[in-house]
Amino acid sequence: MSHVSWGTYSDAMCYDGQLHCNAHANNMVVLAPQDGKNKATQAPDQFLAFLDLDMAFGTDDFLDTFVMLSVESTRLNLVLI
């Protein structure tokens, strides 16, 4: 289990049952060659890098804002264990 969500949640911008989700392939970018090198060996080490974290959160700073929504929505996928 992950302690970090890339940004999967619902708010007033979502339609009923819809979720924001930043965990998708377009939030990995291709590194320019000089940025993907291993600093010690200078050999290519990393092809991709992650980004788009303005909606990311973790268990340490989670706050259940969803219950405050005035709109009745389905809460299917963002479940706390």
């Binding site: 970018v29 804002t65 963002l78």
Partner: protein, 437 residues
């Protein structure tokens, strides 16, 4: 990586024609090629200080976070909304640190995207679009910076109504709480994932825009929610996207890299016997189906999958290490494959590209770069074969590395420290996670 150099004519903002030099190379390949113009905007810059960042957990601060869940009465509308992530805010010292003397000179005042020929554009600036609301700008020392929330294309910050939801949003910007969160999580994950994944960005801070770039005004709501547009400022290492650019591009170009198409029998042979089979066509079920099923199994807490309950490991994934493809470099830009009306494929076409206008001939600066890259690949492939090493396929290796990099990022996320409960898997990266085990 090679670079193409070409002289081209362009209309200047003064209306005259001038010769400009356009060099396509790594900048265009890895950062972008759709130019944008930037203008200085009223406002100020704020430095992000991770050492001073804390969680805003006081009763008053949490009330502001929660207030974002509802429609807001602000700036003359009563149904405005801003992003409401399920988390507390990131607190920065107040007053904000506005000393940006360590930033590149160009970024020491707020910038906003403007039309290319605007007389207000900062001259001599190399900047490219990234989606609708962001851009990347190159500064004098060659570093690139991301301005996330620098205007909705070149329209500034606009109000958009969604009648179905009954809401109004500001488009084209970030906000103080999303800017702080982006910078906080970027810095946090960059440190915690060091050694297994690389963040594309490094946090610097944000632009805070003043009038006239405040479509809902400068005053917060009665609950303290700010609707002032911000722009996230970060150093960046690239912008070509895995999905839209790399994977989609490889899919389109794949036939040009292969001397022959592998048959179904040889493709099936790389899957283990225990790989589930689609009863309709007797082929191995797709990895997408296998991993979607796994995602559902994990989310609902019922094991490794709903329909396919086995572990996702080497017993179900293709063994591609030794799979060999007959590869070659693609044809040069003036010898592209073209299908005649008879169905025959001939190689006398021009390099094309897909744009908003449909399929059209690629511009010369891309053709030059294509040719140089194709020649480089041809030489590399010849060198690899001459070396006699255990090189199966550079394409398979590339796809393998894509999965590996995604997987080690997902695996890193699972190791990030946390103090309390666990969140359910939210990402599609479980597949890659399994692949890099």
């Amino acid at each position: 990586m090679p670079s193409g150099l070409i002289k081209m004519s362009a209309e200047s903002s003064q209306g005259g024609s001038k010769q400009i030099e356009s060099r396509f190379g790594d900048d265009e390949i890895f950062y972008g090629s759709v130019p944008v113009a930037l203008s200085v905007a009223p406002g100020h810059c704020e430095v992000y200080d991770h050492k001073q960042a804390t969680l805003a957990t006081s009763e008053e601060e949490v009330a502001v976070s929660v207030a974002r869940a509802s429609k807001l009465s602000v700036g003359g509308v009563n149904n405005a909304v801003v992003p409401c992530m399920p988390c507390v805010d990131i607190r920065q010292p107040q007053p904000a640190n506005k000393d940006v003397s360590a930033w590149p000179k160009l970024l020491q005042q707020p910038l906003i995207k403007v039309p290319l020929l605007s007389v207000d554009a900062v001259p001599g600036t190399k900047a490219v679009a990234s989606g609708c609301r962001s851009c990347l700008v190159k500064v004098d020392d060659g570093q690139w910076f991301r301005l996330k929330g620098s205007g909705n294309n070149d329209e500034g910050f606009i109000l958009r109504e969604d009648k179905a939801l009954g809401i109004v949003q500001i488009r084209g910007c970030a906000f103080n709480h999303t800017a702080a969160r982006e910078n906080f999580m970027t810095t946090k994950l960059s440190a915690e994932l060091a050694g297994c994944a690389v963040a594309a960005n490094d946090a610097l801070g944000s632009f805070v825009y003043d009038k006239p770039h405040q479509p809902l005004g400068s005053e917060p709501t009665a609950d303290g929610v700010s609707v002032v547009p911000n722009c996230i400022v970060q150093r960046t290492r690239g912008d070509r996207r895995l999905g839209s650019h790399l994977l989609a591009g490889l899919t389109i170009l794949l036939p040009q890299f292969l001397e022959s198409v592998p048959d179904i029998k040889s493709l099936k042979s790389v899957f283990p016997q225990s790989r589930p089979v689609d009863p309709v066509d007797s082929l191995p079920i797709t990895t997408a189906a296998l991993m979607t099923d796994h995602s559902l199994g994990v989310m609902y807490g019922v094991g490794d999958g709903l329909s396919f309950p086995m572990p996702r490991n080497a017993d179900v994934f293709a063994k591609v290490e030794s799979f060999s493809l007959a590869e070659h470099a693609p044809p040069l830009s003036n010898a592209q494959p073209r299908v005649e009306s008879s169905g025959n494929v001939v190689h006398d076409g021009a390099l094309t590209q897909i744009s908003n206008n449909g399929i059209e001939n690629a511009p010369p600066e891309w053709c030059r770069l294509w040719d140089e890259s194709a020649e480089a690949l041809k030489a590399d492939l010849a060198r690899l074969r001459a070396g006699g090493g255990a090189v199966g396929s550079t394409l398979v290796y590339l796809y393998n590395r894509i999965g590996f990099d995604c997987g080690r990022f997902a695996r890193g996320l699972h190791k990030v420290s946390a103090a309390c409960t666990c969140l359910v898997e939210s990402c599609q990266f479980i597949y890659q996670l399994c692949m890099c085990r």
